[in-house]
Symmetry: C2
Subunit: 465 residues, 2 copies
Amino acid sequence: MPGPSQDQISAVLQHVDAGMDESLARLFDLIRIPSISTDPAYAPECLKAAEWLSHDLAEIGFDASVRTTDGHPMVVAHQREVTGPHVLFYGHYDVQPVDPLTLWTSDPFEPRLEALPNGDTAIVARGSSDDKGQMLTFVEACRAWKTVTGSLPINVSILFEGEEEAGSPSLAPFLDKTADELKADAVYVCDTDMWDRNTPAVTTMLRGLYSTEMEISGADRDLHSGMFGNAARNALQLLSDVIASLRTADGGVAIEGFYDGVQDLPAAVKAQWQRLPFDEKGFLSDIGLTIPAGEAGRSILEQVWARPSCEINGISGGYTGEGFKTVIPAKAMAKISFRLVAGQDPGKIRDAFKAHVAARIPADCSVTFKDFGLAPATVMPLESPFLTKTLGALSEEWACEAALAGTGGSIPIIGEFKRRLGCDALLVGFARFDNRVHSPNEKYDLSSFHKGIRSWVRILAALAS
Amino acid sequence: MPGPSQDQISAVLQHVDAGMDESLARLFDLIRIPSISTDPAYAPECLKAAEWLSHDLAEIGFDASVRTTDGHPMVVAHQREVTGPHVLFYGHYDVQPVDPLTLWTSDPFEPRLEALPNGDTAIVARGSSDDKGQMLTFVEACRAWKTVTGSLPINVSILFEGEEEAGSPSLAPFLDKTADELKADAVYVCDTDMWDRNTPAVTTMLRGLYSTEMEISGADRDLHSGMFGNAARNALQLLSDVIASLRTADGGVAIEGFYDGVQDLPAAVKAQWQRLPFDEKGFLSDIGLTIPAGEAGRSILEQVWARPSCEINGISGGYTGEGFKTVIPAKAMAKISFRLVAGQDPGKIRDAFKAHVAARIPADCSVTFKDFGLAPATVMPLESPFLTKTLGALSEEWACEAALAGTGGSIPIIGEFKRRLGCDALLVGFARFDNRVHSPNEKYDLSSFHKGIRSWVRILAALAS
């Protein structure tokens, strides 16, 4: 299939460059709608943002509509007029609350441009980066293609949700209901950071998550250690024993079967990661540490992107106030979470963890669990042409090798696309580390917006070839 | 040395029996003085109680005086007129606060008699047991000897303090200042419980204490486990590893040198403890447990009275509220205490513990300690004639073998008598488990008071022989 010619691509890119004022004006319009999803008072604003987007997409030829849900509405749009692949683009129009308002240097919903010391310009406003600025990079790229050539290089569906900052409660049921309509060859999400200021990144590897709260009970009440010390089981000692037993001496996880199905990193990925400008020492020294705590013999990137983990997120028990009480606590609680990688079955990990703990609880003590998250890891296959072409297009725009990134974090919606639509997802974003996302004075760099649009112009072309 | 004759003893006991109303009236007088030591508003009442005691002791021939301190005053009294041993008797005239007042069924400082279901009668009032009732058992015994025979069988000094419920801040300096005056052959303290309702007990073995708060620090801030999980040290995992390393698999303490100097229980004591009506299963089932957690092969009494312990009294760190935060905590805190036995040097235990922990902290993490208590164990030698004679006198009065008890708890004042005066102490008390000491509706059984006085009559006689 012949894609757009180099001349066509150049013409579209020139159109983008020439139309930046208009693109920015449209972004400002969208930002001015205070679509805070977690505060019911702003529900009308969420609807307004959805309608604005639907209208904007219709203007550039999409079959666009606002779809109601039990929460804030979805925007769904299609433009499927060519032979070729079909991608689903996802973004979210809702934004975080703005408190504390006093820390903002200007109205969060009146975007303003601010010169940055590095010569770039910042768009300062709530949602400028997360996710209004990012999602419009894709929309503006579509607009440019449509305006210059009359059509998009590939078939595109769009899904914008309005509850991402509120945990996306309506997404899974909506995907189930619209699976036939939204199913595509790949999903693109624009809600992530670049590798660094100059290096774009495609994230294809997300760790899954199992999180639980465990409570161990010993005696039926707190006891005085003078009267009972030694004879009565100490719930905090038992909890510590159990937690210590979760790890091996060389930084691994000691639960039986924990690494079943976990593959070693493919050589190609390992090589790409080694080429990344990543400073292990700097990564640790930034947080006041010098010694990697994970599995011996594996790089830090491998530890945080490609290896499963077990973390203790909280412990409480006994007397922890001022002074001292020589109490033997009856109960001890720990919050524990596991980051999971491809090949691990979250349910099996949950069961293996609980069996590991139960085997270490004496017969006169007990343990209960309260589970929170349970989500598998997601990985886009390396051999996917979507991945190869996207990396190539990004490398061309930014004139350097795009990073093939993992992320240690878990993004539940990615799992939903895989589970509900059967689609792998690629995360391509142009945000930068210092964008103060979720914080006062959130910003998006003008270069992120501009070169983001240009990047999508090239990606759409590359996917057509 | 010939002690008092059996006829003399009988006459004194009869005098006690016949004078119970007057004894009780004196106790009521003392109870009516609300000598709460922790509330400065009651300082005049503390002085009044001290003066009441000094006056009462002078009435029965003691050279008694109120001595000022930086806190509440001491009462010191002597009656050293015979050839024979010299004992120092200790008690405290101060009482606990009475809140919450609403839970009292009558005025805490207006003592009343209440019939108990077991046929006994309770004296209900703050201080009835702790320690006004207990201390007057000794004073009333002295009064009876003095009234009937004109003298005490042995030489007696008395020390009553008014700050026991406030941590005895003035005791150590006062003992230092008056060491020559107060030094005796043995110290008797009447502030403990009987073994059970019918079995008296002498406590001669008190565990010492080292308590400390340990804070482990990893990264310089809390981290997101998605971004840093595996690579960054988790302070709570490290804390748990350290705590788990403190114990051996068979219930012992794993710190190097921890058991240095610890002697096995003498065979005679072991035999006596085996004869005690002590129900191991009941001891544990009372607190909802069935498996002794201490060193394998040692009885529960041995574990709680005669073996050192290591207890985790509190842990905090990370996120412990509702829901879940996948945080890698930068800091983790534990409160840890050690009960110590004879032969253990508290300073060495402290240093060995800190070295044990420090050896397990990676080079990029750190640990700090904030020490609280540090007190050695105290043990009255078994071969002491004071102990033998006291046990004999008690066994006679109560018509059963008196228990030779240890206590897992630490009573700092006992350590002070040993350290400042060089005196071993015997704890002989007639309180019962259900006396609600420190709680609303505190009570002292009339039989505790009556047979307590009779017990001291016999002990004073026995010590003279």
